[in-house]
């Protein structure tokens, strides 16, 4: 290849795209998800840190900005050590409720205070975990050999969340858009790429209208419910069955409107985010996200039903045994109907069922949810002045040494990312 053709291809690539492009394949993601499930089961869960890393490496490598792909430089070992450290912190904390029950069993007031303190501590830790997980992921994300990062402190973020959480309570969630904006502001304004910081200029009031569309059906459901309960003695009301269906319908509407709100909020937050002179624009449509979520839910339900039916018929599980399994899940082996000598086959069926369900879940999550979500997000985002990213130099800030332990242990890691 000569220098001329190289420059040609370079220009062609430049012209192709200046924005985000995702070119991942659902098949490759399915392969990774399946092998992750099997290896995780075979190693009794230990592999999951490496599996998560492999999935991320793939997803990151299929997203290009201005023609160059992202790189995920995290390792399974970091996640594993992070998890071990988090466990060392969390194990003693998790024993608090049991110890409190043991020692303050006959002092309900002291017990209540200890419980309250425990809940607050846990809430605090969850915020710290969310912040640290984000910091880890950003610090392990590279583009053109330059890494992103996050400054600020976990305590600072937890304070913002705690304060705005109180605001939520006092305003009966009317302040929710402002709360969300404040939290997002803290995260974005402490985000870096190389040595340049992101900035954020959002106002909560801009999101009030879509938020009211969430609140209205909830208020309507509550009002109708209260009216229905208080005047249900009136015979005309008792006759009208349609009124009973109204509150659930309104709540369903509220769920849909909430998902729509989150998409609108994402669009707005993107438009308020700047990187030097580079601005973001997002035209993600909420019906697409709703369709994706609906498809995932249907796939999960369908796969669950098919697997259950398949295992039950293939292994000849009786209705009585099914009830036993339900009890087993609820109460463990010490429950009222323990498995007996004839139930070895039932236990095997249960194991097969679990493995299949786990595989189906991780398959649908990776090959449908993550794949399409990343695709929708990348296709909907456009950047102006993308050259600002190329003008960046590396940051001298310290990197966190270990990964997301708290988030993993507390189950607050964003799904798959």
């Amino acid at each position: 290849m000569t220098v001329e053709t190289l420059e040609d291809s370079y220009e062609r690539r430049e012209a192709q795209s200046r924005d985000l492009v995702y070119d991942g394949a659902a098949g490759a993601l399915a392969g990774i998800a399946l092998s992750n499930t099997l290896l995780t089961l075979a190693t009794l869960g230990v592999y999951r840190f490496w599996g998560k890393t492999r999935l991320r490496r793939y997803l990151w490598s299929r997203v290009s900005l201005d023609g160059d792909r992202l790189e995920y430089v995290g390792t399974g070992k970091e996640l594993f050590f992070g998890f071990c450290i988090a466990m060392a912190i969390l194990l003693p904390i998790f024993t608090i409720p049991a110890l409190a029950e043991l020692f303050f069993f006959e002092h309900p007031i002291v017990y209540a205070f200890v419980q309250l303190g425990y809940v607050i501590l846990l809430f605090w830790l969850i915020q710290v975990a969310i912040f640290r997980a984000r910091r880890y992921r950003l610090s392990r994300t590279k583009w053109r050999a330059i890494r992103a990062g996050q400054s600020g402190s976990a305590t600072g973020y937890a304070l913002v969340v705690f304060g705005t959480g109180l605001l939520n309570l006092f305003t009966l969630y009317l302040a929710y858009p402002w709360v969300r904006t404040a939290r997002q502001r803290y995260l974005v304004q402490h985000s870096w790429f190389g040595n340049v910081k992101f900035s954020f200029r959002a106002r909560g009031s801009a999101l009030l209208a879509p938020w009211l569309l969430v609140m209205l059906p909830i208020v309507a459901a509550v009002v109708i419910g209260v009216i229905f309960i208080t005047v249900k003695a009136i015979p005309q009301w008792r006759q009208s069955d349609w009124a009973v269906a109204l509150p659930p319908l309104f709540l369903l509407l509220a769920v849909v409107m909430y998902l729509r709100y989150r998409v609108v909020e994402f669009r707005y937050f993107a438009s308020c985010t700047r990187f030097s002179r580079c601005r973001f624009r997002c035209d993600l449509r909420s019906f697409k996200v709703l369709l994706l979520l609906l498809a995932c839910a249907l796939l999960l339900a369908g796969a669950g039903a098919a697997i259950t039916a398949g295992v039950v018929t293939a292994m000849g599980v009786t209705a009585e045994q099914m009830q036993k399994v339900l009890i087993l899940f609820q109460y463990g082996g010490s429950g009222p109907a323990p498995l007996g000598e004839g139930d070895a086959l039932l236990l095997l069926a249960l194991l097969v069922w679990m493995v299949l369900i786990a595989a189906a879940f991780s398959l649908i999550r990776a090959a449908v949810y993550l794949h399409w979500m990343t695709r929708l997000l990348c296709a909907s985002l456009t950047l102006t002045e993308v050259g600002e990213f190329a003008a960046v130099a590396r940051s001298k800030a310290e990197m966190p040494r270990f990964g997301e332990g708290l988030a993993d242990a507390l189950d607050v890691g964003e799904i798959g990312f």
């Binding site: 995780t40 869960g45 792909r69 991780s362 990213f389 590396r394 242990a409």
Partner: protein
């Protein structure tokens, strides 16, 4: 290497130096010292990477460019994605496949062994830890817990049969039960006073709660052919109470669900955790059952009651409705069971049997069998 022709030796790529986010078109030269990265017009190379240090960034997927690192912060991107044969010859570790694929198998093997060892240690240590911890639990606490649980447990069993929970409390039957309880209880060595209640349910079983409460299900009374059988079952449950098995079990279950929950985070492995927990639970409870059988034999002997009754009861007890198994299979199956195999238990108590008067006088036994003539709703 020196024999390499000039065409092969020069490749084009894009280079990121890891200092700024600029993308530079570069030429690659395969020299004897290593991979030289040169800007088109420049004479001095930007970097020289040793062949042995070269690594792929990504797994090889069709259509993706080939991205390389030389071990430092710099990155090379070869847009067309195919690895030049000349470079492959010098750096064979770049062959397509997962990066470090060879070590993955080894890691998984080690991970599996490590996980199994850790799990084995936990499973072996947990029952002992729970037993050691039980004496630390105040007795008043255990009694309060038992009282709190009793109506809950009664309700739970009743829902299995879709009926309202009720205690059998015909006065004559209660009196007979109290006499039997006192006689056995005196020899149980229990730190708790016994509170034996009959639940109106067609279940052939009895259970011990923490703190001295024992439930006998009326199905057991209907099925029993002599008062010795009831005395034997009661002695068995009393040993559970005296040894505080239920409390140890509660602590084990708490510890296990905690450990499994922590070890195997997400939903998929959560299902595995539930299964593993069930299996280990069954293995643990088996040990407690054997202990309770030992205790029952001792209590019956001290109370002058024949163990033949308990032997008859176990001989009639179906092996959980399964078809009869031969001995080899049976011993394999006992692992899964919360109770030792019934025929083995029957043989054990039959060996200890000697003729003695029945545990209850015929009138008392009849009264006990009719204790459900009067019931009171549980929890009321």
């Amino acid at each position: 290497m020196s024999a390499m022709s000039e065409e092969n030796a020069t490749l084009s790529a894009a280079y990121n130096d890891g200092v700024t986010a600029t993308r530079r078109p570069v030429l690659l030269r395969l020299t004897a010292a290593g991979l030289e990265i040169v800007e088109a017009e420049a004479r001095e190379p930007l970097a020289l990477w040793a062949y042995g240090a070269l690594r792929r960034l990504d797994e090889a997927f069709a259509g993706a460019p080939l991205r390389l690192t030389g071990g430092g912060d710099g990155r090379l991107t070869l847009e067309d994605g195919t690895l030049p044969p000349a470079l492959l010859a010098l750096a064979p570790q770049l062959a397509a496949g997962r990066p470090k694929a060879g070590r993955t198998a080894l890691r998984c093997g080690l991970g599996f062994i490590g996980a199994v060892v850790a799990l084995a240690i936990v499973l072996l240590a947990l029952p002992h830890a729970a037993r050691l911890a039980v004496p630390l639990v105040p007795k008043s606490w255990e009694q309060a817990l038992g009282r709190q649980l009793s109506d809950e447990v009664a309700g739970l069993f009743a829902t299995l049969f879709r009926i309202k929970p009720a205690y059998c409390r015909a006065p004559a039957g209660r009196a007979a039960l109290t006499r039997l309880t006192a006689r056995l209880g005196a020899n149980a060595g229990s730190p708790f006073d016994f509170d034996v209640r009959v639940l109106d349910l067609p279940l052939v079983n009895a259970i011990a709660l923490p703190g001295g409460i024992v439930f006998i299900f009326s199905g057991l009374l209907d099925q029993a052919e002599s008062s010795d059988e009831i005395a034997g079952v009661l002695a068995h449950e009393m040993t559970h109470v005296a040894r505080r098995h239920t409390t140890a079990r509660l602590m084990e279950t708490l510890g296990l669900s905690f450990i499994f929950g922590v070890m195997l985070g997400d939903l998929g492995s959560g299902a595995l955790a539930a299964g593993g927990q069930a299996v280990t639970n069954l293995a643990y409870s088996r040990r407690a059952e054997t202990e309770a059988d030992d205790g029952a034999a001792a209590i019956l002997a001290a109370s002058n009651i024949d163990t033949q009754g308990l032997a008859d009861f176990f001989a009639r007890l179906p092996a959980n409705g399964s078809v009869k198994t031969d001995d080899a299979e049976e011993s394999a199956m006992t692992y899964w069971s919360s109770h030792p195999a019934s025929p083995a238990r029957a043989r054990r108590f039959a060996a200890l049997a000697k003729p003695l008067p029945p545990a209850l006088a015929p009138a008392d036994w009849q009264a006990l069998q009719q204790i459900c003539a009067f019931t009171e709703a549980a929890g009321g």
